[in-house]
Amino acid sequence: MATKQSHRLARWMMAPSVFVLLIWMIVPLALTIWFAFQRYRLTNPNIKGFAGFANFEFFVTDPAFWPAIINTLLIVVGVLVITVGLGILLALMLDQPIWGQGIVRILMISPFFVMPPVAAVVWKHELMNPTWGVFAAISRFFGQEPVNWLGSFPLLSIIVMVAWQWLPFATLILLTAMQSLSEEQKEAAEMDGANLFRRFWYIILPHLARAITVVILIQTIYLLGVYAEIQITTGGGPGFASTNLPFLIYNTGVLGGNIGAGAAGGLVAVVLANIVAIFLMRAVGRNLDA
């Protein structure tokens, strides 16, 4: 890619995909902005016309609004803490030469291939159900009262579910990063008198910094939009206990039939995502510099 000729060629070759991506992004965004300022009810075609900021006001003053924002952030932070923490531990374990390593790794990755709604159904009915779920059986085995996970700890249950799905991703990225650490560096630290814990803290963890950053950034993008698990398990309840922003938008726009307010909520979500992005890049972005 050195000559002017190849630069121009590259630009032309990329043009179609850039164009398609732009359309894909701009059209929905433009429509959302348009609807956000329109009166648009699915239940009543007679209400129409320019709405000003009424839709925004409606959405932001919804009693579920602040709980939804907080829940959204709690899901992101909770899942990140669990996946990065357990991911590092699992990667450390999978990095050891063990018998049947290949099969263990495939088993480890498999939750990632289960679609979110399927995973949610399995967790809701097979694991967390207080009557016939596996967790209830375990509780009874130890003579404890079964816990109604989705009823008593709805947000925690959802965080656990989503973390289960994202753990393989984090583990995989962290494992490959761990394998790229030179053996001689670990040996040098050993010669320098660093014990197991200090080797992890001073050598392995700094080496993983970039991989951890990648995991955090990519997961955050997806975690801001968790929806399927909530829809299938708790329906956002009890009350607003497990309603996050995407779910509130769905509630407002589709269930409530208020497309205008839903679109306004969508724009609020865009703003929230950007605030989170700026915060993240400030906090961990420098790890990406070579």
């Binding site: 001689e184 560096q185 040996e187 050993e190 010669m191 320098d192 008198g193 001073y202 050598i203």
Partner: protein, 333 residues
């Protein structure tokens, strides 16, 4: 103090024996070089001393104390790796201070030691840089700095110069030798380069397939090699070997003559041949001569000569400079 004793050390990797049985006595303050072709087990032997590999059997003693079952951290040795193995996320200062920090040494004392090491190694101006902003030679010096701050019983070097370019290698060779003269600490140095071995060592261990072929001073190895392997490995260019009738004349299975001990003449001599390639180094010229019925022989001659490729010449060995070997390759004396 830092004497290292190996007693019948044996190492196998999953049934494959790398080191059959090695016994060595390295004295305190000595500079010992392990030299041998790649795969001869010299690095493995060094790693056994370091404690980075477990011995299959045998004992390793430091200052007479058995350390065979101790981990690398508890042997009090320091190692310089081929890749330098610097910690990329730490500055030069943090790299050098790392072993002190691990030993929980007081910050003020550690700073002083780091400053001292940096001064000795000319790294004072680079203390706040990261390793990636340093040249190969500077990285090498940081690795050495990290080793010396702890004042170890002995230094272990694993091919430390093989990633440097030729000119820098010569410099670092001298720097390490000078460092040894200053510190007077035992050093064990692994290399495949016999020139490094000859120039740096007090004593050399020549290894072949995990066996110690000979252990002696550089000149001992040069003057009286114990066998054909050592004779061929030590000295540059390699010793010429002649077999068959040419050797039979000297009552040996094979004889060896170093290129610097062959005389060349246009008129008369012991073996007749034709000049092949001439390598002109300026100070010396290496002539490769195809000797009839014997094969290719190397001759070292003076820098300026006019032997041309294709010319008929006569070669004769200097009397008293002929090495004789028996059928098993052992030297006959």
């Amino acid at each position: 103090m830092g004497s290292i004793t190996l007693e019948h050390v044996n190492k196998s990797f999953g049934g494959h024996q790398v080191i059959p049985d090695v016994s060595l006595e390295i004295e305190d303050g000595e500079f010992v070089v392990f030299v041998g072709p790649s795969g001869c087990g010299k690095s493995t032997l060094l790693r056994l001393i370091a404690g980075l590999e477990d011995t299959t059997s045998g004992a390793i003693k430091l200052d007479g104390v058995d350390v065979t079952d101790k981990g690398p951290a508890h042997r009090g040795l320091a190692m310089v790796f081929q890749s330098y193995a610097l910690y990329p996320h730490m500055t030069v200062r943090q790299n050098i201070a790392f072993p002190l920090k691990m030993a929980n040494i007081d910050k003020a004392i550690a700073d002083q030691k780091v400053a001292d090491a940096a001064r000795v190694l000319n790294l004072t101006d680079y203390l706040d840089r990261k390793p990636r902003a340093l040249s190969g030679g500077q990285r090498q010096r940081v690795a050495i700095g990290r080793a010396i701050v702890r004042q170890p019983k002995a230094f272990l070097f694993d091919e430390p110069l093989s990633n440097l370019d030729a000119a820098l290698r010569v410099n670092m060779r001298i720097e390490i030798t000078e460092l040894h003269q200053q510190l007077k600490t035992t050093m064990v140095y692994v290399t495949h380069d016999q020139v490094e071995a000859m120039t740096m060592a007090d004593r050399i261990v020549v290894l072949n397939a995990g066996r110690v072929e000979q252990f002696g001073t550089p000149l001992e190895l040069y003057k009286s090699p114990a066998n054909r392997f050592v004779a061929g490995f030590i000295g540059s260019p390699k010793m010429n070997f002649l077999e068959g009738a040419a050797a039979g004349k000297y009552q040996a299975e094979a004889i060896g003559v170093r290129p610097e001990h062959v005389r060349i003449s246009r008129d008369a001599g012991e073996w007749q041949g034709k000049v092949g390639v001439a390598e002109h180094l300026g100070s010396d010229t290496f002539l490769h001569v195809h000797v009839d019925g014997v094969g290719l022989q190397t001759v070292r001659t003076g820098g300026e000569n006019d032997y041309h490729p294709g010319e008929q010449v006569w070669l004769s060995p200097e009397p008293g400079r002929i090495y004789r070997f028996d059928r098993a390759g052992q030297a006959l004396r």
